[in-house]
């Protein structure tokens, strides 16, 4: 079908929060009838791993991130815990705790999990391409990643991207 719209996304981030935009946009585009590809490169490769527990969120040095508790009475949930960077960097496991709290907030709000969104993308035939150069650079094996991923380089990306209606770098 020649008149089918096309979307290409380059996914470069490897954190829980930044895993959302590529998967949300890709799955929605597919539902709207777009032919969609995501090219995963550098830290974006983390999103293709079989085990997604590597995806974490870090409030350290991220002044835009509200730090609120996902439980307790309303007044307590409304508090923004303004913890200094120096304290965050010294407390062991700070990122893991922040990630656990974020995952709970995500669940409380009826927002899909990353594994769920990734699966929805695959069901909708969104094509996943992993950048072979960064796979090797970071010492990954193809067996670290889920099935159905294709491996290629910049030229592979442009082959599809050159014909797209929308092209995003995330």
């Amino acid at each position: 079908m020649d008149d089918q719209k096309k979307l290409a996304i380059i996914a470069t981030k490897g954190t829980l929060d930044w895993a959302y935009p590529p998967f949300i946009l890709a799955s929605t585009a597919a539902a709207l009838g777009y032919e969609t590809q995501i090219f995963f490169t550098f830290y974006g490769l983390q999103m293709l791993r079989k085990d997604l527990s590597c995806l974490k969120v870090s409030p350290l040095g991220n002044p835009g991130m509200p730090m609120k508790m996902p439980f307790g009475p309303k007044w307590f949930k409304g508090i923004n815990w303004n913890i200094p960077n120096a304290v965050q960097s010294l407390v062991p496991g700070y990122e893991s705790v922040a990630t656990a709290l974020m995952k709970q907030t995500i669940k409380n709000n009826g927002v899909a999990s990353i594994p769920e969104l990734r699966e929805l993308c695959q069901e909708a035939e969104v094509k996943f391409i992993a950048c072979q150069m960064t796979v090797e650079l970071f010492g990954f094996e193809h067996s670290d990643f889920i099935d159905g991923v294709e491996y290629g380089g910049a030229a592979t990306f442009f082959e599809f991207a050159g014909e797209t209606d929308i092209c995003l770098f995330i």
């Binding site: 929605t28 539902a31 009838g33 009826g110 927002v111």
Partner: protein, 75 residues
């Protein structure tokens, strides 16, 4: 309004109501009507946009008591 299938998207947030709707429509034949109930305020604009872009017809869109009800006719 008469409908052939119902989708409960209560409690789900963007983009799940749209994705579930698309999935339900895939299982239906042309001309049948899907009823969707959502609690996501963003879904009002999203369902209108979904219908416009996919050619499925949004027969009605209504809000009552924090719930949004859509009737969509499959293309």
């Amino acid at each position: 309004m008469n409908f052939d299938k119902e989708l409960d998207a209560r409690g789900l947030n963007c983009p799940l109501p749209i994705l579930r709707c698309k999935k339900s429509l895939n299982e239906m034949t042309s001309g049948l009507v899907l009823k969707v109930v959502s609690t996501d305020p963003g879904s009002v604009k999203d369902f209108a946009a979904f219908a416009k872009q996919t050619g499925n017809e949004l027969l009605s869109s209504a809000e009552a008591g924090g719930e949004y009800t859509f009737f969509i006719k499959k293309k």
